[in-house]
Symmetry: C2
Subunit: 338 residues, 2 copies
DNA sequence: ATGAAAGCGCTAACAA
DNA sequence: TTGTTAGCGCTTTCAT
């Protein structure tokens, strides 16, 4: 068994409170300090954060619930948050709910029992019901990437509409008219927003939006492959495509490979998310990148602020909107009517 | 504040022990059971795992320390482990140490204080010193992917030599003689093993290994780009290259793009790790893939076995060696002396 | 089957 | 500055 403060007290002949005071940075007589330090070294003492957590009713642990860890967007955000939070003494408990509402509920339950001090969540449940119980605990919640209707909370979001519109405008400005879009599921906030941005670009250009050019899949590779094939089948005249997340973009490139299409001569492509992947494609992809480091930083900062409110604390929800960026490659060319 | 067992006791008029017994699946008179269930629903009671952890000296939490979360190989393994461990009631605390020995030490300390029940680690410190303290706790440790000299422990490893040799033999059998290799750092176990496999293939073919064809970088994208450029510069006659992890492979493809080389006519490539990426390249890459799901499953199983030893438990270290697989694409062609 | 009480390792009054 | 003590929420004897 690991040594406890009691052991230190016995070893040094001091009282428990003195030890505790020393451990917590209090003042202790020089002579006793040395004794305690000796005891700590000798007995390999390490604070028991579990006991401390019980006593102080704070575990210095943040629950993180996400749809898929195995997804570059999520992984990058978690990496960034973990870095910041741990440097402030907070551990994260990550739960991957596999894009499944029921698993998300279980994860949330699980983390409640573990008494995490706060929750960071990329929500899967669009109803917001899963969060109900946690909200009643009064502990801070930061929602990332997806807005839930009717849930007031701190949010870190990305301006998906703007980026999607920008990407579509680029393709339109190159003369493309038949521009396909490969989207995520109807019930995912970002998917809907990106589609709206696409539609807005058409509307502002005074052009009609063709339903046949809209493919809705899951946010996964398979949907990217299938989406590309189906769009081309239904729209032989399609000359450009906008793909709206990393997995879909990868799938789209696989589809283009398998169909033997030439980029950008036969089809122009604007992808999403991963810059390294875009550069590794031949020719390099034009993409919309998301500021994952910034998202992570904002989310972690809001959480820390909620845990230790500064003087001018307000209980108004904090909503932080980050901006994506277009990075130009060589996968977009002017429309060639020939 | 959340409800406690005391509250349930007061609400039902029962004793604390009865409540505890019910919560833990003990027998309770039907009438009382109903009362307790009513109280739980009414007061929104949830077990406090922190208190339970203190009392039982087990937190149902596993520490996971890895070099980079933001790395597809690590992310896939964590995803798999988290799934299995959580379904057995264990949470994971993930710490990303950014491939930094000092940060790894801090993470390990941190997790000790949090009293995790076990540790899963892709070790960065090749000396094994970082693990010393945790080992003294007597709690189970499972090491993944990298062997540490002189540390007896449970391991889940991949047969890197075999895969690397197989990849090199493929290139040799296509008539290539000047085959470059882009490796990871000298002090990373897998990097060294993969290089050994490459060398063995040459030796068994009776061919000399040229030092100029060996590029050592970090396991990152930048090294892949630079490695590719440097190898070609030093070895204009190089007709094939073996790239030994995902990030390097991505970097290598970026380099090939930037140099405007034709695949596989001008250079044959065998990559590593990510199958979707390989398929998204044009032409599709031939690669060595690692069985991340299997690694995750084995690591989680060993951990669970150590936490709850079956009857025929042995304290001999368990070493599990998984096998990689070659997946053939179109990035390798016969050597054309023309 | 149920209750009373001790104690896990720590912190925080309070007293000295 | 230091020591004594109670108690965080739970489990676990030991009685009943």
């Amino acid at each position: 068994m690991a040594a406890t403060m009691k052991d230190l007290a016995r070893y040094t002949g001091l009282g428990l409170a003195t030890i505790s005071s020393y451990i917590n940075g209090g003042n202790v007589r020089e002579k006793n300090r040395l004794k305690i330090e000796e005891a700590i070294a000798e007995l390999h003492y390490e604070v028991n954060e579990v006991a401390r957590g019980l006593k102080k009713n704070e575990t210095h642990t943040i629950g993180v619930v996400i749809p898929e860890l195995n997804n570059i967007f999520c992984a990058e955000i978690i990496t960034g948050m973990e870095d910041i939070l741990r440097s402030h003494g907070y551990a994260i408990m990550v739960c991957d709910c596999r894009t499944n509402v029921e698993l998300e509920k279980q994860a949330l339950d699980f983390l409640m029992k573990k008494r995490v001090d706060g929750l960071i969540n990329i929500p899967v449940d669009v109803e917001g019901k899963n969060l109900q119980e946690f909200r009643e605990s009064g502990k801070p919640i930061v929602l990332i990437d997806r807005k839930i209707n009717g849930i007031k909370s701190d949010y870190v979001l990305v301006d998906n509409r703007k980026s999607a519109k920008e990407a579509t405008v680029l393709l339109l400005s190159e003369g493309h008219k038949n521009i396909g879009i490969i989207c995520g599921p109807r019930d995912v906030f970002t998917a809907e927003e990106r589609l709206q941005g696409y539609k807005t670009a058409f509307e502002e250009a005074g052009l009609p939006v063709k339903e046949s050019l809209i493919y809705r899949g899951n946010y996964d590779i398979q949907s990217g492959v299938e989406g590309m094939k189906e769009l081309l089948e239904k729209n032989p005249e399609m000359s450009a495509v906008f793909v709206t997340n990393y997995e879909l973009t990868m799938g789209c490139m696989i589809g283009i490979n398998e169909l033997g299409l030439k980029l950008p001569e036969q089809i122009s492509v604007v992808g999403y998310d991963s810059l390294p992947f875009a550069r590794a494609c031949s020719p390099a992809l034009t993409i919309v990148t998301q500021p994952t480091a910034e998202i992570a930083k904002e989310a972690a900062s809001i959480m820390l602020e909620r845990l230790h409110p500064s003087s001018e604390a307000s209980d108004e929800p904090i909503v932080c909107i980050c901006q994506g960026t277009m990075v130009h490659g060589k996968s977009v060319s002017g429309f060639d009517p020939g």
